[in-house]
Symmetry: C2
Subunit: 270 residues, 2 copies
Amino acid sequence: MTTRDWRPRYVQVADALQDQIRSGELLPDTPLPSEPDLAETYGLSRTSVRNAIRLLRAQGIVRVERGKGTFVRATVQRIVRNASERYPAEKQRALLIDDTERGSVGASEMDSGLTFSDLRFEAKYDVIDAQGDVAQLLEVPPGTPVLRRAFASFKVDSGDQVQSSCSYIPHELIRHHPELLDSSREPWPGGTMHQLRTVGVEVMSITDRITTRVPTVEEAEDLHIEDGIPVFVLWKICRDKDGLAVEVAEVVLPGDRTELAYTTELEPWA
Amino acid sequence: MTTRDWRPRYVQVADALQDQIRSGELLPDTPLPSEPDLAETYGLSRTSVRNAIRLLRAQGIVRVERGKGTFVRATVQRIVRNASERYPAEKQRALLIDDTERGSVGASEMDSGLTFSDLRFEAKYDVIDAQGDVAQLLEVPPGTPVLRRAFASFKVDSGDQVQSSCSYIPHELIRHHPELLDSSREPWPGGTMHQLRTVGVEVMSITDRITTRVPTVEEAEDLHIEDGIPVFVLWKICRDKDGLAVEVAEVVLPGDRTELAYTTELEPWA
DNA sequence: GAGTGGTCTAGACCACTGT
DNA sequence: CAGTGGTCTAGACCACTCC
């Protein structure tokens, strides 16, 4: 016998299963042995086997379907969200006014490689009083009316949600332009940059503030995220030429299928 | 009786505890009742109570210390890592050659608000063969020798690790400059940008590629991260004026104490 | 030594999935 | 229907911390 493994048995089982997955012994979308079977195999109780499986779930290695079984997860392609390309392109697209041009290329499409017809969009508008983060980031007093645009995009084939976001614009800015609340015109080709242009605002800089956390229960359902897989939370702050915040948006992105990219250009040394 | 709550009992217990924490009934750094006590209180087995506590841990709401108890987590201040300010500043600092100037202001310090003397640094150099991500991002064939610099910074008072990173430079670039491997000179005031300057390389652009995942067991220990709290994984790619990758680095940051910020400046409409 | 959380057992009943 | 994972029990022993 070699040196003893002092780790808990369930950690060892998780390790053994992970090895079988990595070695190709267990293939993606094939079921693992059932929990009673694994308990039998490793001489453990079902509880301990479940502890092992919980570790694998938390690492996104397996996926569980109730009543069916536990399956090896196929490695998912990460969608790269490249802000340094996306935002300038979005600003250019915002110049397109003609409805027929709209949607020829969209931001989500640019990210994902999916074509326009592969995606379905949902948008909902309402006017609320700014509170908390929104008021703070927009630099307005709490209670100030803001337009809220809740937006989500889905894959048509699977119904999977690709992202959800919620953007906020001071109501003052768009007060005299009710047509901006026409959700049937979604998606706008330049997103809210197009809408802001309609009311004479040009966005000159965008700051992304990024955090990560485990999803809420609702987010986990909507984004089809396994227990324990984190999400990115991205707060986007758009400013005009005076540095005034004209739009803020909270974007939630699935952490196992997303990669964010930013390029910083540097000034040459003198 | 109101409408029944059909959620599992342990979810209800987690909810109840969370309410007590939010309401201030349970204060940060005070212990929750012990598991047997909670089991008694809610009329459940210890197993079910542990399930409830696992939910709270995964959300970063409580922290567990073995042999001591379960404690309400104080809300931690997020350290903002602002690349759009950090990288240009780092490049300027790389111009400082004089040893006495070194360390007057460091990158980690700028982020965290901590002063130089609050932090302890560890760096280790070796030469390895590039593989996988490193070879791919540096755009060199696998097996190419690269200098690896493993770097970590710690708070002096608590010993807590603030970040860990591992940077890679093609060995060809620094072959004739063994002094660059002198770890006693850490931290370099401009990081590897200073080292690269010594060998005649000027970094002109930096791309950050960001993903998020749950930490490995080692990372969880080093960064003092609770079970289920995610980490950021940031791959930094530095390029010279020809667009050649001259350094790549993998940085792991604790997801509950870090916020990343990037600003994209946009060209005006014609 | 008493109290804490970590691991583990050998059962049980349930809701859900397939046939 | 049998098989799957989800919840739950009432114990047990352990390593660790504090007194």
